[in-house]
Every structure is written in C-alpha cells, then in structure tokens.
C-alpha cells in the first residue's frame, strides 16, 4: 500500500508557480591513489610470481637473477610480442573518460483553482559515466490533478512517464584488469587492433557496435474519496496504481563468430498494479478522539520477455534490424513469463485522550502471498501500542518548565517478512539443449528436476518490543528521539544447502528455502538536534544520529546430533547458536611466511615463502585446508553508525556539512580488501602492497602462489570509515532585487560529495566494499568504483 502525495498544492486559490532547477555534477573516482600497473609494474609482478627463478637464492631472494627471461612464463603469445616491442598500453586510460558528469534539469508548474489542484513537470538527465560510451539519458513527465466534485466526493490522478536510454555498447570496468599493458591496442596506422589477445575482440571496438537499450515506464495512480455525508468522520477512499515498463535491448556485434556476427532483440514488458480500499473514521467526542482505518488491498505483478537472436549473418550491414539474415539453424528464440499476486487486510484503531496526552493503538494485519504453498499463504500479525505525553500532565508542566515536550511510547507486536521469491516453494523441471545421437539431424532437448520443493515454507514473523522517547527542551533548542527495540524473529527464511547426494549438485540448485529457528535483535537509535545559534543573520543547527544493532541466533531447529546436550551449529550455512547470523567463518591468518622460515625449513608443505601463515586452530598439526581450522573471525554487520550534520546560515548564505560514519570496532563490519586475487602473471592489477623478500611486512601474500585453502584466502579488516559525505554552500538572492524582476526565489549552490574519507581500508571504497581487486563484480552485477563529485546548482521560482 503506497500513498503518493507529491507536491500537490492544498489550501486556497493560488496563481501558477513555475519552478526551474538545474544541476551539474562533475565526477571522479573516489580514491585517486588506485593506479593500474604499467609495463614495468606488470613485469615486476610476473617476476615476483616466480621468485625462485627470477631472484637468486644466494642473495636470500633479495636480488634479481640477471639472466632470467619472463617470456616462457607468459600465458599468451601476444605478451611475448609486446615484451619484445616495448609495448606499454594504458588500458585504463583508453577505456575511461577524463570527465564523467551528470546534469539534471527540471521544470514544473503548480497552482490551484477553486476546486482543483494541479502540478506538472518535465525532467531531463544527461549522464556520461567513467567508461567510454557508457551514457545515460532520461526524460520524465509528471502530472498530478486533484479535484473536488461535490462536498463529499474528490477524485484525482498522479501520472508519470519516463524514458531511460542507456544505448551504446560499452565494456565493463572489470575487463580493464583482464588485459595486460604488454598487449598492444592499436596498429601502427592508428587503427584499433581487432583481436589484441586470446582471440578476443578488442573491447575498445565495441563502442561502434549498434546497441539500443531503452526503458519506457508509465505509472498512474487514480483515486476517489467519499466523505460519507450522513456519518461525520467516515470516509472511503479507493486507490488504483499501475505501472508498466517496456524494455528494449537490441544489440549487434559484427566481430562475434569470427566476424560473421551475432545480433539479438530482447523485449520485455512488466506490469504491476495495486488496488486499495481504505475506510477511515476519524472523530472526536470531547476529550476522546477515535481514528479507525480499514484497508483491503491486492497486488498483481507479471512479466513477459522475448529474445530473438541470430548468428553468422549473410550480410552485416543491417544489424539487428534484419535478424533473418542469420544462419537459420543457429537462430535462438527464447521467452520467459511469470506472475505473482498478494492480498492484505488491515484494521487499526487509534484512541487518544486530551489531544494525545494518552493514546492507544491496536492493529491487526492479515497478509497473503502467492509465493507460499497452498496451506501457508496467509499469516496474521497483531500489534498494540501506547503513548503518554508526560509534558502534558499538569504536575509536570508546572514543575519542569524547561521541557517543552516529553513523550513516552511503547509498542509490542508482530510483523511478517516474505523475502521468498515467487515459485520458491515449488520444485522445478528444467528443460534445455540438448543431445543428438548420430551425426547430422536435429538435437533433442533434455529435462531434469533441478530444484527441490518445500511446501512447508511459511511467513517469517518478527515479534518486536519498542520503547521510544521524544523530547524537546529549552524552547526547542535541544530536541531528539531515543528508541530501544528488542525483537525475536521466528521461522527465519533461509536458503539451506543440501548434500549433492540429492542429485542437485553443490551450487544454487542445492539450496532449499526453509524456515529456521529464532533470531533475536536488540538495538538503540538516538537522534539529537541542537540549535547553537538562532539569530536574525546567523544560525547554526547541529544534528547527531546514532544507531546500533546486535543480532543473535537463538535456535535453528533443535538438532543435537552429537548428543552433547547443546544444540548443534549449522556449519554448512555458517549459522552459530548464540552469534549473529552474518558471521565471517574462515581461517585465521597469522602473518606471512618469510625467507628466514624457508631457510630454517619451517614452512609446511603446500605453502611457500610469501604465503599466509594459517592458524592451526584445532591444534591437530594439519594446516592443509583443514576445515576444522576455521573459526568465527567476526561479523559482517556494522557495530554502530553515526552521522553529524551541521547547518550554518549567515544572511543569505547557508553552509551544510554532513559527516557520516560506520564503525566496526575489532570484530564487526569485516570485509576483504583483496577478495579476488589469483595469479599475478595472469591479469593486470591495481598497485597494492604484496609480499616480496624486500617487502617482508606486506599486508598481502606474494602473487605467484597460495596455500591449500585456495587463492581466495585473504585477510579481513573492518570497513570502518568516517566520511565527509556532503559539503555544500548555497546563496539565496536578496528578495528586493528579485521582486523587481518578478522572480520570487533564486538559489545557487555548490556542493562536494564524498570529498574525503578517513579509513584504514585498502582500495576504492569501504562503504561499497570495494577493495584493491580489479574485479568489482558482486552478485552478478558489474560495478564502478564509487565516485566523488562537485556539483553546481540553480533553483528558480517565478
């Protein structure tokens, strides 16, 4: 249930107000120290990957072996060519642009006639991102109308249309690290080399490929409201919202299939509508006030998608506009479709006495979702709350004059979570390509059951107890809110791994959505505001926000297979009784094996100098990927967060300073700055602090080898940071000046975002968990580094 109430004018008749705002943000990457290795750096990393050969044993591997030749170590023939030619290609420079930016413009008109409010606006965004040819344009139109037809009937609409355009093919940020500086990009005549290495098409060529990527979005909300004439305070409102999204993704790559071409057209259409019936009754009887709401609503979502793809084109000129020119037996057709529905009812009564001196709230909610199995579609969630405005009591008002407002709130109740996908309770029969018996002819499809069902899956329920305190002191000079909550979540939704013996492999197919045990959460949230100065020409407001949460797994399912009288942890899901659910469960690193360890014969089999010393936590002498050596090193969630906002005003100037911080202490908010580092010889990397005999105190291992735990083992550190997230200076032009020009308001401002960050984290950005690795892909999505930006803006109102 979403009620949109944007910018519709209320109140008396007003003349049309025209507003215009413009904004230009110039961007750069957040950490300018991140530099990709050049030829020299890359060759050094190759040499450091083979220290046994590239350095001399007699110098304790401190000195280079002068006769060493890196060429036999190269994994692509083009590296040998580039080595001889002295090639030093700056792929980062070639792939990125110097000045990424975003500009936004928005113009709107709003006003009110006797019975009607109106608002209409047009917006435009133009964006150029860090990677060449990665651009974004957006055009949006909005119209809101609300009209009172009779005394008891009001109808209105809010409509919105936008076109988002991401056309233009680009490479992703990660590919920069997948090509080495020894690989040449251009031919001597200045043209791009078509296949610079590994037979892959030069990704700099992609920007010339035909590529259309557009999204059309149409949103509409329509509502009617009846004030029932013969019962005072009773009204009925119906809301219907619908959203439709069309996506077009058309792409043609003439270099694919050995220059015979590949092209596709992908179209999708998503629909989403919500219908809410809302009855409210709102009436005061003397000191008693009753506010009752009943809601009955439903939601529907569906999607359809079609892909048509062709390969090996008879002619490359027409691109995706004539996919029929592809080779018939290599054509691909595909489609997808899904739908989901939900349903909800809610009843709420708020009773308040003497303008809220005491108030009581009771709510009951019933939710249904199609994604649960037939027996578990619905769940009911009741809650109650009470509030007491202490400052309204005579005994208090008379004695504590410096307190303007003091309100105590308590609530207790349940709510539900359905973070389960549609069809997640069902088993799935997957069909695909294929098998062909004999030579020639048409292949048959295959099918298998790729997922296990869980028809017992039900709503996750959280029972929460909240206490809150709102206060305002010394005429609002100091004000704030404090909240404490303690909750228990039962039937926590969790994708649990099952063994491969079930025949579903070891990856995502082997996960079954289940409800597990109970998780407790407790937390504190504090907001404090302080007005340091409030003079005519000068004001200074400070706002401080703090929050802290701790979670704890109370029980899983009671299994005690080892019979020690204590419930077992579920190691395969990294769930530990009595600990938070987001643990880091891994090997402890106790430093790096040094040259002296090697010479003393102390390095265990499987490790070499420069690899991590893994703690033998179970003390059995085995450090070769011994799963029992893993320990809970800490937690991924933050320890606490805080932010401080300073707002200063001097005459027509205002200055806003916003500092944001997430803190991890020693064990919380852990991340791995070097989470994806394989072999130094293979790809290219950003310069980082890796081990060599000359750099014995390095943070990270040597680039050529790793221990039996695999290349993924790397040190964790808290992502703690304090960041100047926003610094802005604005100026409102003086009123008198404007009145003569017929302008009611002009504001200009400059602001800087992410100007600087105080952190010990290595790499791009601790908050986004971007470390020193060159691959910023996470959860299947390619990311850019976080950007810092300088913005210039203008607001005008007529």
């Amino acid at each position: 249930m979403i009620l949109i109430t944007t910018k519709t004018q209320r109140g008396g008749v007003s003349k049309p107000i025209i507003e215009y705002s413009a904004q230009l943000s110039l961007q750069s990457t957040i950490n300018p120290k991140m530099k990709m290795l050049d030829r020299e750096g890359y060759l050094q990393m190759v040499a450091d990957s083979f220290m046994d050969e590239s350095r001399t044993a007699s110098s304790h591997w401190l000195e280079a072996n002068p006769g060493w030749d890196p060429r036999p170590k190269f994994i692509e023939p083009e590296l040998t060519v580039g080595y001889a030619d002295g090639t030093d290609t700056d792929w980062y420079g070639l792939t990125t642009i110097d000045q990424p930016y975003i500009q936004n413009h928005n113009i709107s008109i709003r006003g009110r006639t006797e019975n009607t409010n109106y608002f209409t606006s047009f917006g435009f965004t133009d964006q150029k991102n860090l990677i060449k040819n990665d651009k974004y344009g957006r055009y949006s139109f909005r119209t809101n109308l609300e009209t009172t037809i009779t005394k008891w009937l009001k109808v209105g609409t809010q409509t919105f249309f936008s076109l988002s355009d991401r056309s233009g093919e680009t490479t992703d940020f990660n590919s920069i690290g997948m090509i080495q500086p020894l690989i040449a990009s251009h031919n001597p005549d200045g043209s791009l080399i078509e296949k610079p290495s590994r037979g892959n098409t030069n990704f700099l060529l992609l920007s010339g490929n035909p590529d259309l990527d557009q999204r059309y979005m149409l949103n509409g909300t329509f509502f009617g409201e009846i004030k029932v004439p013969w019962i005072e305070g009773l009204s009925y409102r119906v809301n219907y919202s619908t959203a439709m999204t069309f996506n077009k993704q058309f792409r043609f790559n003439p270099y694919a299939n050995n220059n015979l071409g590949n092209g596709y057209k992908r179209n999708s259409f998503n629909r989403d509508w919500t219908l809410d019936n809302i009855v409210t009754y709102n009436r005061a009887f003397g000191d008693h006030e009753v506010n009752a709401t009943l809601v009955y609503g439903a939601e529907y979502r569906d999607r359809e998608y079609t892909n048509t793809e062709a390969n090996n084109f008879a002619d490359l000129t027409l691109g995706y506009n004539n996919l029929g020119l592809g080779q018939a037996d290599l054509a691909v057709a595909g489609s997808e479709a899904w739908k989901e529905t939900s349903l909800y009812q809610m009843a709420r009564v708020v009773y308040s006495y003497q303008q809220g001196k005491y108030s009581l709230t009771g709510t009951i909610r019933r939710d249904g979702f199609s994604g649960f199995s037939p027996t578990n579609k619905f769940a009911v969630f009741p809650s109650v709350g009470a509030a007491w405005r202490v400052s309204q009591e005579n005994f208090f008002r008379d004695n504590v004059t410096w307190v303007d407002n003091l309100k105590l709130r308590v609530s207790y109740g349940e709510n539900g979570n359905r973070t389960v996908g549609r069809y997640d309770t069902m088993a799935r029969l997957t069909m695909g390509d294929g098998y062909l018996f004999g030579d020639g002819g048409t292949a048959g499809k295959w099918q298998w059951v790729s997922k296990m069902s869980n028809y017992d899956l039900m709503w996750e329920t959280t029972t929460a107890f909240n206490v809150g305190l709102d206060f305002s002191l010394w005429n609002g000079r100091l004000y704030g809110t404090y909240e404490f909550y303690s909750s228990r979540t039962k039937d926590q939704l969790w994708n649990k791994y099952i063994s491969a013996i079930h025949g579903l492999g070891t990856g995502d197919n082997a996960r079954v959505a289940t409800n597990i045990g109970k998780v407790g959460n407790t937390g504190h949230e504090l907001t404090l505001g302080f007005t340091a100065f409030d003079k005519k020409d000068f004001g200074w407001d400070i706002r401080f926000v703090f929050s802290r949460n701790r979670s704890k797994l109370l029980t899983i399912d009671g299994t005690d297979a080892d019979g020690d009288g204590r419930e077992d942890d579920l190691l395969s899901s990294e769930l530990f009784i009595g600990r938070p659910i987001n643990v880091v469960y891994d090997y402890r690193i106790n430093g790096i094996w040094q040259v002296a360890d090697r010479e003393a014969g102390r390095i265990p089999n499987g490790y070499v100098m420069g690899t991590y010393i893994v703690d033998d936590a179970d003390g059995d002498g085995n450090v070769n990927g011994d799963a029992d050596d893993r320990v809970v090193l800490g937690y991924r969630d933050p320890s606490f967060r805080f932010s401080i906002q300073n707002t200063l005003r001097y005459k027509n100037f205002d200055l806003n300073i916003f500092v944001n911080s997430v803190q991890g202490g020693k064990k919380f908010y852990l991340g791995e700055p070097l989470s994806a580092f394989t072999e130094g010889k293979q790809w290219n990397f950003y310069d980082f602090d890796y081990w060599t005999p000359n750099n014995p105190d390095a943070k990270y291992r040597q680039p050529g080898g790793w221990g039996p735990q695999g290349s993924g083992l790397s040190p964790y550190m808290p992502r703690t940071f304090i960041r100047l997230q926003e610094l802005s200076l604005g100026y409102n032009l003086p009123k008198g000046l404007l009145d003569r020009a017929g302008i009611s308001r002009v504001r200009v401002y400059v602001s800087a975002n992410n100007l600087f960050t105080i952190t010990k984290w290595d790499g791009w950005d601790p908050e986004a968990n971007q470390g020193v690795q060159s691959n910023l892909r996470s959860n299947g999505v390619d990311h850019y580094p976080t950007m810092k930006s300088f913005t210039f803006g203008l607001n005008l109102e007529f």
Binding site: P72, A256, S342, G368, L429, G503, L504, G710
Partner: protein, 598 residues
C-alpha cells in the same frame, strides 16, 4: 462508477483462487514424467551429464583425472604446487574432491527419478518402453556407482524415491555394497538393452552394459562372471578391432590407430566396429554446446618457445651480448602461433611422464603404431623467418633443449635448475598427443581467413586456427569421442584372466591389441597387473579416465611414486579420494565417515 466498480472486483474475488501460484515458463515435476517424449528428454540429460564429466569438468579437475603415472603438472612445478603436490591439493575442502562426486550423484538422482516415476507416476509408457527406459537409466546409475566406488570407496546409496524434503542422515555403504548396487543395475541394463547394431549411434547397448558389468565383476573379484560377460562383448559378431585403414582420411598417409581418431570415424555408421559407446558432438548443433576440452592440456604450449634469431633491426645480440631470442612459431601471417597441424591452442599443463613418452614403448618405439609420428608428434618445424633455424626441426636440429626428467626430480628435491635449462618450462615442448586434434581437419569455421575467404596458412603451409567464439574453437576437440572402445574390453578380460591365474589367456588378449598395433607380442611370463596397466596406457592414453582404473586397482600411489618426478608428496591414503567436506557437513543427522588419512 469507477469507485463502485473497483470495489466490486475485490469483493467478488475468491482469495484462494487469487493467490494460486501458477508457473508460466516451466513445468512442475508433477507433470514432467507422463509421456514417453518426456522420459526421452530425461534420458538425454543422463547422456549430457556423463559427457559433461568426461569432457567439460573444470581445468583443475580435468588434470586430476589423468595425473599420476601418465602425466604431471606442466605449470606449478617449481616449487611443486597444485597438480604436483597431492598432500596439499587432494584434500576434502578442495573443489577437486567434489567435482566428480556431485556430477555422478546428479546422474544417480536423475536415473532414480526416471526409474521411480516409470513405476509410480501414472504415465503413458507401454510395458516395453518402460523396461527399456528403466534399463537405460539403470545403466547410467550403475556406471555412476561404479565410478564412485572406484574413486571414493563405499558411498551413500541415494534414496530411489525422490525425497520431498532434505535427507540429512545418509551413511556410507561398504565398497562391496556400492559395487553391488552397480552390479545389479548393470545386470538389469545388460538383460534389456538392445544389441549395439540395433540401436542409434551414441546410445548405450547390451554390449556396452556387459563391458561395464565385466569391470564391476572384476572389482568384486568374480573372475568367471567377468570372463563370460566380457567374452560376450568380444565375441559379438558386430564387434571387432579395426585392423585396416578406414573412414574419412583413409587415403592419406597414416595408420589405422590414427584413423580411429579422425573426424566422423567413431560412430558405427562410419564403418567403425570397435567403438562401444561414442559421446556425441556435432559442430554448431544444439545437441553439443561444448566438446572435449582436455586436448588443450595434452597439447604443449609450443607457441611460447623462443629460439635464437634476429630482432627487427637485424641484430643477433642484445646490448649485453646475449643472443636475441625470437618466437619459434610465429611469422607475419600468424600472430597467434597456433595451427591445426600442431594440435591447436595447447597449454601443456598436463605433461606426460617420461614413462609414457619413452620407457613404455621400449624396443617397439618405432614399431608400435600407437607411438607413430601420426599419433604422437614429437617435433615441430620452426616457422618464424626471423629465427636462425627457420624451416628446421626445433628439437631434432637442436634449436631448443629437451627438458630432462632429472631437472624435475631435482626441483622436487629442492635442487636448483642447471643453468642450461633456466627459463625452460616443462609445459612448452613435449611430444604432442594427436588423438584429440585433427590435423588440418577442423570445421572450416574454426580457421582464420584472408579477406578473399581463403584459409590463412603459415610460411610452412600450416592451417592457422582462430580462437574465438563459442564453443571454444581451437582448444577443444570438436568431434565425437569414445567413452569406451572394444580395445578396453580385451584389457579387462586380460585382468580377469590374470585374476584367475591364467596368464597365457591374459597374454592372448593383450596380444590382440599388440598385434593390431604392430608391437612385439607379450609372453605369459611378462603379464602382471603392471604390464596390463602399461598396456592400458599404450592403448588408451588420455582416452580412458585413468584415475578410475588406478584407484579401482589401488595402484595409484605405487605407480605415481615409481613414474612421477613429483611423487614426493604422495601418501598411501591417496588411493582413495577424500569424501567432499561439504557433503559431510551438510549431512547433519548422521556421520558420513571420511576416508582414512584425510
């Protein structure tokens, strides 16, 4: 009006109906096992999964299927790591341990569902269809259990009825029980499946099932049953070793062993009577989106070889007075350096042992056609005009050093590499196995072309391969490959005869292969299990998945110690692989015991 209408929609709607979940683009398994066509699709998946394990398992995993006495790691040798360091690498937490395991259990899970559904789900199958479908599924289940038994010992027997909720109390069976399950399944398959000449190319047959059953009988020391069952395969009239040139390239210089591995010569429709079961590949067919990938590991990374030559300025020595070195296999028309004639884009990470390259051939080195220059290419011509030795043989004419086993053994024992071999990688230059590469005979789309459409060739007339597109062109085999070949049936029966103490009959079986190959016949006195394993290597190098045989016989450790220069880290317990750690951890209600030593 609109208000009333909207309210009406909801009031009239039935909540249950409204929330009914209906999949639109996939089927619920409840409706997936009713028609014969659906069972056929399910059977296709069994073929695809077995083929995936044999051809398409990850790079690391692939190496482990052939390591030991046949090959070692061409990378990661100094210091010995990964493929050359078993103690550190073959461990329960390594992906290696689970990759074969989970593929085989997927086959078992699929086969169980087919067998269970045919009997328990109302379906349209005739009794004859039902028997045939169950037999085919039983073959795959039996094969999978046999392979699990080979590699891991006794394993959990999966519940036949597809579990409707996670089953977390599996326990291991004994190795005999695991083989026993395989035996039962393969007996069912052998009884029902059609003869090999009465079924499709690429489909398993009675003879295939008998071959596999014979192997399981051997594993159970049931020598008589093995001899009879394997004999039925050998004596089946439509089967026979190929002794004369045949097929697509019969007119070219070569030999019959070479013919066995040329394009389109594997299926029986080509006239090949020796194949038992051929895994299918058709270029650009939806039925094969990948092909055998370990040709890449077996072919050396020859394109990395550098030899004495002149630089662009025509100089022969650099500023320090050292000889200028140039790539041996590259010239103006061929930037990549890889050609069809040299086997495509090798990386040489699976280098053969000296035992395989040299000692195993003994006095028959020049006689045995399985070691002919057609089948194992031992030298290449330098094709870079800038090289001093342009047009000459890179090894025979002394332009590149032969990498001796002694260097490896030195490295394995911590001895420094002698100066003359500094910078020479074992992966770069070694004899190249031609079974999976098809000299000059890849699909034409795989070649680099000139602008007029003609194939580009090097100065020595070799065909240049491209390296783009999917399926990966120049480093996979792009052709049908044997899963099993009759030659192995002879080797198995020889094992059974030896087990029964009939060395003369074992020698006769082995000599059937040696005779075809032109090698000196073996005498009964020579035959022991190591001789049979050597003959397997000679006949089936990189073709059979050797780790299964070595682990079945418990000979992996012993033979690796004897023939692999990096044997230092092998331990006695490596004759069985570790149970994947995740499996133990996920099976929370009962212990799956780990194999001893891990």
């Amino acid at each position: 009006m609109f208000v009333v209408g909207a309210a009406g929609i909801l009031a009239s709607c039935n909540e249950k109906k409204w929330l009914t979940e209906e999949p639109l683009d996939f089927l619920s398994p409840d409706y997936g096992y009713e028609k014969a066509s659906q069972y056929n699709m399910a059977i296709n998946h069994l073929y695809d999964r077995y083929r995936d394990m044999a051809w398409n398992i990850g790079d690391d995993q692939r190496q482990s299927l052939w390591w030991g006495d046949l090959s070692y790691g061409g990378y990661d040798w100094n210091p010995p790591a990964k493929y050359n360091n078993w103690a550190a690498w073959l461990i329960p937490t390594a992906g290696l341990a689970s990759d074969v395991w989970h593929r085989l259990y997927t086959i078992i899970g699929d086969a169980n569902r087919i067998i269970w559904s045919a009997d328990n789900v109302p379906n349209e199958l005739t009794d004859a269809d039902k028997a045939m479908i169950k037999a085919e599924a039983s073959f795959f289940r039996g094969l999978a259990y046999a392979r699990l038994g080979n590699l891991y010992g006794g394993v959990p027997i999966a519940q036949v009825e597809p579990p409707s909720s996670p089953k977390e109390d599996y326990v291991r069976s004994t190795r005999a029980e695991t083989y026993g399950q395989a035996r039962t399944d393969l007996e069912t398959a052998a009884a029902v499946l059609p003869d090999i000449d009465k079924t499709d190319d690429g489909r398993v047959s009675k003879q295939m099932a008998q071959h596999m059953l014979g192997e399981v009988y051997i594993a159970l020391a049931m020598w008589d049953e093995a001899i009879t069952t394997l004999g039925a395969v050998i004596d089946y009239p439509a089967m026979g070793l190929m002794t004369e040139r045949f097929g697509t390239r019969a007119g070219e210089p070569g030999d019959v062993y070479w013919d066995l591995f040329r394009l389109n010569n594997q299926n029986r429709s080509s006239g090949n009577r020796e194949s038992l079961w051929v895994l299918q590949y058709d270029y650009q067919s939806k039925g094969s989106t990948y092909s055998l990938a370990h040709s890449r590991q077996v072919v050396p990374g020859y394109w990395s070889a550098t030899v004495a030559g002149k630089n662009a300025a025509g100089e022969t020595h650099d500023a320090n007075g050292n000889r200028i070195k140039v790539p041996a296999f590259r010239n103006t028309v061929n930037a990549d350096g890889w050609t069809a004639e040299k086997g495509g884009r090798g990386i040489g990470s699976m280098r053969g042992t000296e035992h395989f390259f040299t000692s195993i051939w003994g006095e028959d080195f020049d006689r045995d056609i399985r070691n002919s220059s057609y089948n194992i290419q031992r030298d290449f011509r330098i094709d870079n005009p800038a090289a001093d030795g342009y047009g000459e043989w890179i090894l025979a004419d002394g332009w590149y050093p032969r990498f001796p086993q002694s260097v490896n053994e030195g490295v394995a024992n911590g001895v420094a590499i002698p100066a003359e071999y500094a910078g020479i990688e074992p992966r770069i230059m070694f004899p190249s196995v031609q079974k999976f590469s098809r000299t000059g005979n890849y699909p034409t789309e795989a070649y680099v072309r000139n602008s007029d459409g003609s194939l580009r060739v090097t100065a020595l007339g070799e065909h240049i391969l491209s390296n783009s597109g999917s399926p990966n062109l120049s480093y996979t085999s792009l052709k049908d490959e044997y899963a099993f070949r009759l030659a192995e049936t002879y080797l198995l029966r020889a094992e059974a005869h030896l087990g029964k103490g009939q060395a003369d009959l074992a020698a006769a079986d082995i000599n059937a292969l040696r005779g075809r190959a032109g090698a000196t016949p073996a005498t009964a006195a020579q035959i022991d299990i190591d001789y049979i394993l050597d003959e397997r290597m000679r006949e089936l190098y990189y073709e059979e998945i050797r780790i299964f045989t070595l682990c079945r016989l418990g000979k992996f450790v012993e033979r690796t110690k004897r023939y692999n220069p990096f044997h230092g880290s092998i331990r006695d317990h490596h004759n069985l692989w570790p149970i994947p750690f995740n499996e133990i951890q996920r099976n929370i209600l009962a212990p799956i015991e780990q194999n001893p030593g891990y």
